[in-house]
Amino acid sequence: MTGHLVTLDQIFVVIKHWLLGFVPGALQPISSAILSVVPVVIAFPLLFAITTVLERKGLGRMQNRYGPNRAGWFGILQPMADGIKSLTKEDIVPKTADQLVHFLAPVVMVIASFLVYAVVPIGRNMVIADLNAGVLFFFAIGSMVELSVFMAGWSSHSKYSLLGAMRAIAQMISYEMPLVLASVVVIMAAGSLSTVTIVNMQAGYTGIWPHWYLFTPWGIIGFVIFMIAATAESNRCPFDMPEGESEIIAGYFIEYSGFKFALFFLAEYLGMFATSAMAITFFLGGWSAPFSFLTWIPSYFWFFAKLLTIICAFIWVRGTLPRLRMDQLMNFAWKFMLPLSLINIVGAGIWHFMPAGFTRWGVVSLLLALSCVLLSRGLRRNKWFHVRTYRFAS
């Protein structure tokens, strides 16, 4: 890379150090922290605003309608309008609600959703905290979201919100296991729990092809498991049982109004971005370019390009797949995802100890493909499809 391209890549780091130069020495640590945190706290809510438009327009196209097109040019100012609307709405708290817990639930949820971004490597040398146990930090903070879901559902004192919270927690606990186990293979391969080290391990190239963990048999399976579990963790379609509109209206945040509702919405999307960012870090090489001849493009651009691609895939899935039933959801988690992710760990171990070459590709691929087929057959056992007869319709 030539000089000015390196500067472009590191422009945010350079600006931060330049700004730090104006601060007296005693205040340097805290101002350094603020200068790292503030851009992240601004950038991801902005991404949230863009995603809401993208999602409503995209879903509109898939459902053969226009989507928002009144506020601004092609509806681009719709998030502003939504924000002003939710800020000016009356904040209604149910009379029988547990006032303190009802107030704290969205606060805890938003704090947990933002804390997770501390370990996300956005670009080269661009991470808020390179923690020794960064991956563990991500999952630990993610588990706090479950607690806030419970707080919201219980404190509202409504049967719909309680049902929604129970569904959400059952689903989150079930899918957290495959989520963690799918990332274990990456930790095994990288030999580190630090997100920065994991990305650095994938930053090399063979010819023009990158060393991403996606391009290994266990990496593909791990990525697919991780993305399915991430969809379930962020309560998105086809796993949006906790907020099934047709059954329990809006789930655990039904009794929230005004900006508290908007905070739940924000936290849900921030959680989705964070798990997608982790999938990028684990399997898609973080901020590294997809081809060796494209490394001159700044690293943060690649990170956000990958993130937007995954978000588009999420929207596509939401517009395509119908909602699962509760028993299907649980069976899928415990009888398919969990065994497959365990076998995937064995596969990654075999891969590690076999000499590099086509044999290990063949052996590990065969193992994983065979277990995929057998597990999906086991899932379908005794459940062959028949022509459904309706008692009163036919």
């Binding site: 146990a133 309680l162 129970m166």
Partner: protein, 171 residues
Amino acid sequence: MTISFLLLAAITIIGTAAAMTLKNLVHCVLALSLGLVGLAALYMQLGAQFVGFTQILVYVGAVAILAAFAIMMTRSADPAVSHVVSSFRASGALIAILVFAVLAWATISGTSAQPILTAAPESSVGQVGAALMHRFVLPLEVIGLLLTAALIGAGILAMDEHRGNQNRGTR
């Protein structure tokens, strides 16, 4: 004794004290998880990141959620009326005093009470993993076996109940 230590200690003590004194069970669970988060923060302040994060992951993410889930499944949403002061207070106080005495004795007589002059040892996740895989591999395996047995036992219990319900349904 820094300000951050005092703050974290206050959060931990207030959280655990509230967990014992509050009337509503769900409030107790939430207060307990606050205390556990405070404890995890104390671990992290001592430089033990791994232990701190594991504390949050296991106790807040699993134990507190499980307790909350159990309360939701078994009780109505109404606050349960229960006495804060239990009838076992004499024996409870005795046990608490004994445990405190043992812990205080261990802390005071232990080597860690003396100020450490050498640099703090570098504790990383890698070292924890190496210790688990080399020196403590047998305890780890034994605990793994125990947990697997517990998991299978729980599965069998749930399965039998399910089958019984089915039989009752068909009869």
